[in-house]
């Protein structure tokens, strides 16, 4: 008697994803059946849900479990990235509530959407199959399109949502086409099987299908992580989207993009490393330089940070081009510290801005340093960290990224990287110039630091400073995480 064989599925690797999805759906229901007005409790529930998920994820450290026939894996690499996503999401939730109230778009769907986006990112980090990665990517992207256009009454937000959607789907097309070509060349979508088949090929770099597929996938991911020359959407989307969502998009999805990119290229395509690291070399230089040079000329602070986030993707690509343990551990460390420092900086921007996203120019920070000294010090710490000045986490991150490149022998890449870093100091300093060295034009009396925002800022400052002074606390985990690749 024939039986339909149902594979035994181990659910452990995706427990956090399941938990978060269920939580998000429950939140949706609560939102529907609760009266309008105050939505703060949704933020609190989401925050504690995220903390609980983080505990769940943390408990999986050290495990190595494959499931769903090898299309999903729970390993340290995935765990490290999942933590990064959760931290980004947790900080975002904390800074969202007050902002949404001020902008009068406090719809309860915001929090479930953030949670769904995190589920997508987690799948991207733990996916070991082209399809899983793609599914995760789509879950993340679709929710992000909505989040970018979340402020329905604001034209710029609408524009951001639509632009992100159009360009995002376009890039998804590229990626899918690339995956199809890889499947065509190897006959499988499992990453480790692809690697095995490539290992048997005599000259994989001569296989047009493979190389074209690799390049197309790289193009798709370059869109997602905002690498030049595929970065055009970034400034407009970052500027138009509600600021907490900008903060989230600059940290979470970028990390997720790198997670999938690293898994894909280091696990499935190591045989083509010579080829793709050359492409990444060029991509990294372009991305850093374009991001930094354009950021120099911006006046709107969200645009400054948008271009700077392009540049930061470039720094991370330096580590990826190196492709060795130092560089890849550097990416993990950098993505985590970038979440702290960048969301922290955005939290200050939210506080300083007025209703309708006004008061968002660099010059509007004039005199903040002595009117609101604590906020200004926090901002200073974030900015110095972004500029890569010790003793902040941003410095250690860049150190490992560039050191990876030097170890690999890409001295010039490292030199271009540090010169970029020096140039970037200029626009970060410019914000500090306004905060400390210009006379105040305002009293900043509207700046209200609520308890959740305070918590977010404390976490962000701690996350920026502690790994800067004692980097081993994070670095050792980052290194254990990349060991498997």
């Amino acid at each position: 008697m024939d039986m339909i064989s149902i594979p035994v599925v181990n659910m452990t690797p995706i427990l956090p994803e399941i938990f978060l999805s269920v939580l998000a759906m429950v939140l949706l229901l609560i939102n529907v059946f609760s009266p309008g007005g105050q939505k703060s409790y949704l933020a609190y529930i989401s925050f504690f849900g995220i903390v609980a998920t983080a505990v769940l994820v943390g408990a999986g450290w050290g495990a190595h479990i494959e499931s769903f026939g090898g299309s999903v894996v729970l390993d340290n690499f995935a765990t490290f990235f999942k933590m990064t996503f959760l931290i980004a999401a947790g900080l975002t939730v904390l800074i969202s509530d007050r902002y949404m109230e001020r902008e009068e778009c406090n719809h309860g769907e915001l929090y479930p959407l953030i949670l769904f986006a995190v589920v997508g990112m987690m799948l991207m980090a733990s996916g070991t199959d082209l399809m899983t990665i793609f599914l995760g990517l789509e879950v993340m992207s679709v929710t992000l399109y909505v989040l970018a256009g979340f402020n329905r009454a604001n034209k710029k937000s609408n524009e951001a949502g639509l632009k992100y959607f159009l360009l995002g789907s376009f890039s998804t097309g590229f990626m899918l086409y690339g995956m199809a070509l890889i499947y065509g060349a190897t006959g499988t979508t499992r990453l480790y099987k692809i690697a095995a088949i490539l290992g048997q090929m005599t000259l994989p770099s001569a296989n047009i299908l493979l190389v074209a597929g690799m390049l197309l996938m790289m193009t798709g991911f370059a869109f997602k992580i905002a690498a030049a020359p595929f970065h055009m959407w970034t400034p407009d989307v970052y500027e138009g989207a509600p600021t907490p969502m900008t903060a989230f998009m600059s940290a979470g999805p970028k990390a997720a993009g790198f997670a999938a990119l690293m898994r894909l290229f280091l696990l499935a395509l190591p045989t083509l490393q010579v080829e793709w690291s050359q492409v990444l070399w060029v991509l990294a230089v372009l991305t850093m330089t374009v991001g930094n040079i354009t950021a120099l000329r911006q006046d709107n602070i969200k645009r400054v940070l948008a271009y700077s986030s392009i540049a930061h993707a470039g720094y991370a690509l330096v580590g990826f081009a190196a492709g060795n343990g130092t560089g890849t551990a550097g990416i993990l460390f950098y993505m985590l510290s970038y979440s702290f420092m960048n969301i922290g900086a955005f939290a200050i921007i939210i506080l300083v801005a007025k209703k309708g996203e006004t008061n968002g120019n660099v010059s509007d920070f004039a005199g903040l340093g002595f009117k609101r000294p604590v906020l200004a010090i926090a901002m200073t710490i974030f900015l110095f960290s972004l500029a890569g000045v010790p003793p902040a986490a941003g410095f250690i991150g860049k150190f490992y990224l560039f050191a990876g490149a030097i170890q690999k022998g890409y001295i010039w890449l490292a030199v271009i990287g540090v010169l970029n870093s020096a140039a970037s100091a200029y626009y970060y300093l410019r914000i500090m110039v306004y905060m400390y060295m210009k006379e105040p034009t305002e009293e900043f009396e509207w700046v209200q630091v609520t308890a959740p925002v305070t918590l977010a800022l404390i976490i962000a400052v701690a996350g920026t400073l502690i790994p800067g002074v004692v980097p081993s606390v994070i670095l050792q985990y980052a290194q254990m995480a990349v060991k498997l690749l």
Binding site: G325, T326, A329, F370, F384, V389, P390, P391, F395, F399, Y400, F402, A403, I406, Q407, G409, Y410, I411, W412, A414, V415, V418, L419, S421, A422, A425, Y426, L429, R430, M432, V433, Y436, M437, V470, P471, S472, L475, Q476, Q479
Partner: protein, 564 residues
Amino acid sequence: MSNVLSLTTFLPILGVLLLLFIPKDSKGVLRNVTFAVTLVTFFVSLIILTGFKANADFQFLENVPWIAAGPFVMRYNIGIDGISLWLVILTTFIMPIAVLSTYTAVEEKVKEYMICLLLLETGMLGAFISLDIFLFYIFWEVMLIPMYFMIGIWGGKNKIYAAVKFFVYTMVGSLLMLVAIVFLYFKGMQAGITDFGLLQFFSLKLDLATQIWLFLAFAFAFAIKVPMFPLHTWLPDAHTEAPTAGSVILAAVLLKMGTYGYVRFAIPLFPEAAHKFAPLLATLAVIGIIYAALVAMVQEDVKKLVAYSSVAHLGFVMLGIFAFNVEGITGGMLQMINHGISTGALFLIVGFIYERRHTRLITDFGGLSKQMPIFATIFMIVTFSSVGLPGTNGFVGEFLILLGAFESELRWWTVIATSGVILSAVYMLWVFQRVMFGELDNPKNQKLLDLNAREITIMVPLLIMIFFMGLYPKPFIDKMDPAIKKLVSQVRVASVNAQVIPGAQQMQMPEGHPGMSQQMPAGHPDMQQMPSGHPGGAMPAGHPGMEAPAAPQAVPAVNPHDAK
């Protein structure tokens, strides 16, 4: 007291914590507490001075693990020798003076100012005591932040331009140095070095091409800081705009970071490359001496004049260091301290009259000696010290530098540099004459008050040091001498190597050549070989860098020598 070095370095940070609890309106308390903290730091540093034994070893060592991740191991590895000892003492000595000078000069945002001063002190001390290259880099960068804010917040009219220029200039240099540090580390790793500890890198054998690239990166960072012509343009801006205490610290200590960097890192780490570039750096130093003196002469702003005189003085220091002999380096080290004292004093003096008149233009003054006799006396002594009059500290340093450099391969450079001594006398005495003598015709100047007790108190320790070091420099030289001798012997070994290598490369080592250079006494003024033989040697134009292609070129340069 085994941790006295750490204690000295981090006492100011404790002071910062203390300041945080003092309300920002009690300015008097803030000033006094800061002064007390710097004074205590100075007294603690005297323990180091008295406990320091005059030998070539590093002392007061502390070495604990700090970061260990991946290929990198960084340690909190500190210690001082005779070279860094005096710079540490100079720093702790200048700080209370600088703080005292701000009592009436800084009226706004006093708390923040004091915090910046204390953070700066920790940064500077940390850089001088670090024996871990990475730790040094951290302190080196951390120093930038408080200085940036000091210039930018409390500075003059063009403060923002000056502050940003200062920051970006220094950052470009130091980041390139960082690349070199990492590269050096990986080179060291191949040779079995397991952490960033500086001393073990001294024995690392590097081929000449690698040395040249690494030396260039280090030298560039330090040259910006010194600053050497033509990278000096940030200095007059920073000095002119910085508040008095900022200028004092900048001149007295911060600029020494650059020259110290050469003595501690660039030269002993890459001795052969240092020899190769000695003529170039000496040329730049001499250009700096002459050029800065000429520019100083035509300045209308007293502070700018003093700033340019700094460039000239540090040119002398560089000349002394690159003489590679005991006299030259001793002179350079002494001159570093002298410059700290006399230029620091000059900036204080400029600060005094600026506080009274809110102008620094030479033409606004004249005949002040009639109105301010004490001020005039002090100004004159400091001017003499800056000019290098015998009996003052400036003379000893300059004399040793010129002596050392004249006996080295840099003889002709020395001849030109000596004219800088005369030029410095010209511009310093001329400015003194214009400010102090002549008719007291400006009615505003006729009401000026002479120095008060606090101002005299600030100047007295500096005056004492000017005469003490000028008349009896022995205790200073005695403590630094063994360390300098060790440095010279490190570099001298390399000097022989440096002469062998180009010969080996060009003519595949004919018989007798190595013998010849061995017979040649080390430090012999070998003018012919230094400038001519080298440029074409190991580094052709468009050299592809430190990547793989460089290796095969470098190998023949070293192998014949190693085989020998």
